[in-house]
């Protein structure tokens, strides 16, 4: 969007609110702490990937910096995605609802039709030497589409109408069928159901009905696990991960060994051993364990601290979002990132079954990096329009005041 376009803020507010929101939201300084925490996590991931890249490539006959250079390219693309998303008018997202939905369906089917199974799961699409993880597109589509849908239902005063639940049920069912069923990606399916559940929750759906839906979802997930030997193995491995460390439980056991061997202060950056062939998916799904091995309890607790701090900032943006649509978007993104982090870390420390999903910002993997950074761009954009006076923290309020005084400068940097 052109930053020079006068009155765009006014138009944004009007268009976005669809008449239900005030036009008096004033654009202000965005919450740079979002960028700070995201950058810390990206840097931690990049440094870790850089340090273990020789270890992973050694067994694959690749250049030893293969992973680290690809990760840097991914972060570069992620920065572009972040900037684009942070400058994009929310109206544009509403226009993108349908194209995104179509793209997501096409990709979801293509993955099953043209993708090669990796560890029994259809998750990847090879496009010109780059692999694309379908689930990431589906997640952002889900957030964008649900935000629009729930906003419409709310405006229509039909939020708690049975049709809404029907629709959410259908969406959940399709998600389960496509992602958990066709792609055998139970981890991503869990994240998506979490997104649907949390967005429904903050949209204002009745607790009771969500609880019923949740139960139905649990039954469905249970069925999905029961019908696939691959998933049954994963679950039984989860229930007793050390029972079969040689075979099914290998990754779970190695993850615990990797985490545990890190100790209080870790082995140091260049001293990870588990990355050298012992721990599967060391750069991707298992990177948390490598972080734990390298930086110890000190590192992991700080890292979880950074995640929680980031989620707190996102929560504040959601709380103070200028309108329902923005709140739902930010809330969906919060659910997405936090559930994904919880499932990933929980698996690495033996509290949850291994699901094969990435740790946002930290894991190696272009698709994940680009899409979570795009999502952060949306949050960052909305942080410019949060409602002053609703701040919990006076410090942020002060920063807000300071931002006002430099508005002219900021305005030239870009808006909407």
């Amino acid at each position: 969007m052109s930053p020079r376009r006068t009155g765009s803020r006014r138009r944004f507010a009007a268009a976005n609110a669809s008449g239900s929101q005030s036009e008096n939201i004033r654009k202000h300084r965005p919450d740079y702490s979002l960028v700070l925490y995201m950058t810390l996590l990206l840097a931690l991931g990049a440094v870790t990937v850089y340090a273990i890249s020789p270890g992973i490539t050694a067994a694959q006959g690749l250049n030893e910096n293969f992973y680290s250079s690809k990760q840097l390219i991914s972060i570069g693309l992620g920065i572009v995605a972040f900037i684009v998303a942070s400058t994009m008018n929310l109206k544009t997202w509403r226009k993108l609802e349908t194209p995104l939905l179509v793209a997501a369906i096409v990709v979801a089917l293509a993955v099953r039709l043209f993708g090669d199974p990796v560890n029994g799961a259809y998750r990847w699409l090879e496009v010109g030497g780059m692999s694309f993880q379908a689930a990431e597109l589906i997640k952002i589509t889900l957030v964008v589409w649900l935000a629009g849908y729930l906003t419409r239902r709310k405006m229509e005063q039909k939020l708690n109408h049975p049709d809404t639940f029907k629709m959410l049920g259908i969406i959940s069912g399709i998600t389960l069928f496509v992602v958990a069923g066709l792609q055998s990606d139970l981890g991503s399916a869990a994240v998506m159901l979490g997104i649907i559940g949390f967005m429904s929750l903050i949209a204002g759906l009745s607790f009771k009905k969500i609880a019923v839906a949740g139960l139905v979802a649990i039954v469905l997930v249970g069925l999905f696990i029961a019908v696939s030997p691959y998933r049954r193995d994963r679950v039984s491995t989860f229930l007793n991960p050390t029972a079969d460390c040689k075979d099914e439980g290998y990754q779970a056991c190695q993850a615990l060994i990797t985490v545990g061997s890190g100790g209080m202060f870790g082995k140091g950056l260049g001293r990870s051993v588990q990355a050298y062939g012992y721990l599967p998916e060391a750069a991707n799904d298992s990177i948390f364990a490598i972080v734990a091995e390298k930086y110890g309890f000190l590192g992991t607790s700080i890292m979880i601290g950074i995640f929680v701090a980031l989620f707190r900032k996102i929560k504040i943006v959601a709380e103070n979002a200028p309108n329902d649509y923005a709140r739902l978007l930010v809330g969906g993104i919060l659910a997405w990132l936090s559930i994904q982090m919880i499932i990933n870390v929980g698996a690495m420390i033996g509290l949850l079954p291994l699901k094969g999903i990435t740790l946002p910002f930290v894991s190696y993997g272009g698709t994940s990096i680009i899409f979570v950074m795009a999502a952060m761009g949306i949050v960052f954009h909305i942080s410019k329009y949060t409602i002053a006076g609703q701040r919990e923290s006076s410090r942020e309020y002060g920063r807000q005041e300071k931002a006002k005084s430099t508005r002219i400068v900021r305005r030239r940097w870009g808006e909407a």
Partner: protein
């Protein structure tokens, strides 16, 4: 709706965040448990798999033999590769088996069976060439296969084929020397493996990251130069085979030793085997070097030693004569002679050897006891057998599975007199051909027993050669006078025998003694119609230069095994030495 966000919505967001916060704290608590409280446990587990101790194999020493005076290799190492797999890290065993089997040229199911094994170290194929190794590594580099590796191994190769196979022995698949020099000198040949203790990646490749790594370089094995003369060995093996064939014997052995330093110049057995294909041998007995591992009752060749002992002790004198009754009754048994002994007569000491008189040997034993069979005589003879001739104990020649033979105790047991009478002509005791050859050597070389040896010298790991010195075990076996008497006697004996007399050569000294020994039945007693033929003799100029000992097992030709079967074999070897090897002729002739 108004500008103020929906309070309920805000609360719900806070609820979600509270959940995140609780989970975050739970995670940190769990991490504290795993990383701090249980750190030791997990570190031990990590070390158990990461810290690997393994050996860097040392290269096995090369074995050389002499091409006249030059050492040339007869056992070398060849680089080979062993294809191994770690089934645990192979995701698609079907696919891997298919690809690997294709490279190895074997059935896919064979490979698959091993890949389904429980071990984390499955050997898929041994002794593979560099081409196979490179193909496997190419598949690995292309990501076609994982968990299959090529390991360096060496295998022994034998540029001279089967030559001296029993002397050499072989190296088994575990890299251990078996039989022969390979077994006896395994420690020297094997060298010292290097040691690595290191944090490694999953493939066992050491990571540079740790200061706790231990690395000891391997020390390669020593090169062994054998005393074996290649040409002499080749000819001895050919003559042995031919001689056994002529005598209609299925097995036998022969050896040539330098009596003046104990060096074994050639040592052959028949049948033999190909050490490169040791695993195809069906009867492991063929691995034995019968010259050192198969003691036998030596028979009359023992009379040379009995005569020398009696003379050296002074019990009899060279020109002494005695009345030989043609038989002696001892302890309910009778010592007889062969039919052609000429009956009871007055005999000389030389006649005892020339006519191979069992009664004569018994008479010599009597003289050692003061003209009767008694403990004094037995002990004196025992002393000669064990302490002078070194019988009844291993010679410590550099061979695996050497047998010590058996000498009866002179003071303990029943029927000792008849038993000892028997030993005086080589029955009722056993010795290996090498023991007999070394003992005869000590009698004909002036009276010094040299430890028989196969090692001329060694090359250490830096290629430095050091020769081995002759080792004197007893420098007073018999007096030099007795020694020269025996040399004379043996020449006379050779010339006095209708079969062997033709092997006397002008300008050289050639002497020897036949032996026809009864073969003990495994269940006790002796076979009536089966004998081993033996012959011990020498060739030389001014002094014996080579001592030869041959053994023909159970020949089927008529006549006494010693003269009819072993004699011609000895003769052919003596001629071969004189004709093809630098035996110095008698000075002045």
């Amino acid at each position: 709706m108004n500008l103020t966000p929906n309070i309920s919505s805000k609360k719900r967001i806070q609820l979600g965040y509270a959940f995140i916060l609780i989970v975050g704290m739970l995670f940190i608590a769990r991490l504290f448990y795993l990383q701090v409280i249980r750190h030791g446990y997990y570190q031990d587990q990590a070390s158990a798999s990461q810290l690997k101790r393994y050996e860097i194999p040392a290269e096995r020493g090369v074995i050389y033999a002499l091409d006249s005076t030059e050492a040339v290799p007869i056992v070398l190492n060849e680089l080979r590769y062993q294809i191994v797999a770690d089934p645990e890290i192979i995701p698609d065993k079907e696919e891997t088996a298919l690809k690997v089997a294709d490279v190895l040229g074997v059935n896919k199911d064979e490979v698959l069976e091993k890949l389904n094994g429980q071990s984390r170290y499955e050997i898929l194929a041994k002794k593979q060439t560099k081409e196979v190794k490179e193909e496997i590594e190419k598949l690995y580099a292309e990501g076609e296969i994982v968990g299959v590796f090529a390991e360096k191994t060496t295998q022994r190769v034998y540029p001279r084929g089967q030559l001296a196979s029993q002397v050499l022995g072989f190296v088994n698949d575990e890299g251990e020397g078996n039989y022969g020099v390979e077994e006896s000198l395994d420690d020297k040949l094997a060298g010292t493996a290097g040691r690595v203790k290191a944090l490694t990646d999953q493939n066992g490749i050491p990571l540079l990251a740790s200061g706790e790594n231990v690395l000891e370089e391997p020390v390669d094995g020593e090169g062994i130069v054998l005393t074996i003369d290649i040409a002499m060995q080749e000819q001895l093996e050919a003559l042995l085979k031919k001689g056994l064939n002529n005598a209609k014997s299925e097995s036998g052995s022969a050896l040539i030793i330098d009596p003046n330093n104990g060096q074994i110049k050639a040592m052959a057995n028949y049948p033999t085997y190909n050490p490169a294909e040791f695993n195809k041998v069906e009867d492991p007995l063929v691995f034995n070097n019968a010259n050192v591992s198969s003691p036998l009752e030596p028979g009359s060749i023992m009379k040379t030693l009995t005569t020398a002992a009696a003379l050296d002790q002074g019990a009899v004198s060279v020109d002494q004569t005695y009345y030989d009754p043609s038989f002696y009754s001892i302890d309910d048994a009778v010592v007889r002679n062969i039919e052609e002994d000429g009956g009871a007569a007055v005999r000389s000491v030389e006649d005892i050897m020339r006519l191979s008189l069992n009664t004569g040997a018994t008479w010599l034993l009597m003289q050692m006891g003061g003209d009767e069979l008694n403990e004094q005589g037995r002990e004196a003879w025992y002393d000669y057998m064990v302490n002078h001739y070194q019988l009844g104990k291993a010679t410590n020649v550099e061979q695996g599975f050497e047998e010590p033979g058996y000498i009866p105790d002179p003071t303990d047991g029943f029927g000792l007199n008849i038993r000892y009478a028997n030993t005086s002509f080589g029955q009722g005791m056993t010795a290996t051909p090498l023991q007999m050859a070394a003992a005869v050597s000590s009698v004909v070389n002036g009276g010094t027993y040299y430890q028989p040896t196969l090692v001329a010298g060694t090359y250490d790991e830096s290629g430095e050669y050091s020769g081995s010195d002759a080792k004197v075990v007893n420098d007073n076996v018999v007096s030099s006078e007795v020694s020269s008497t025996i040399v004379d006697f043996m020449q006379t004996v050779l010339k006095g025998n209708s079969v062997t007399r033709k092997y006397a050569r002008d300008g050289y000294i050639v002497g020897g003694k036949t032996g026809t020994a009864e073969i003990a039945r495994p269940e006790g007693g002796y076979y009536e119609d089966r004998f081993n033929g033996t012959y011990s003799g020498f060739v030389g100029g001014d002094r014996p230069e080579y001592v030869i000992l041959v053994r023909v097992n159970d020949p089927k030709i008529p006549g006494y095994a010693g003269s009819q079967a072993a004699g011609p074999l000895f003769g052919s070897i003596a001629n071969m030495l004189i004709d093809n090897f630098s035996v110095t002729s008698i000075s002045g002739q």
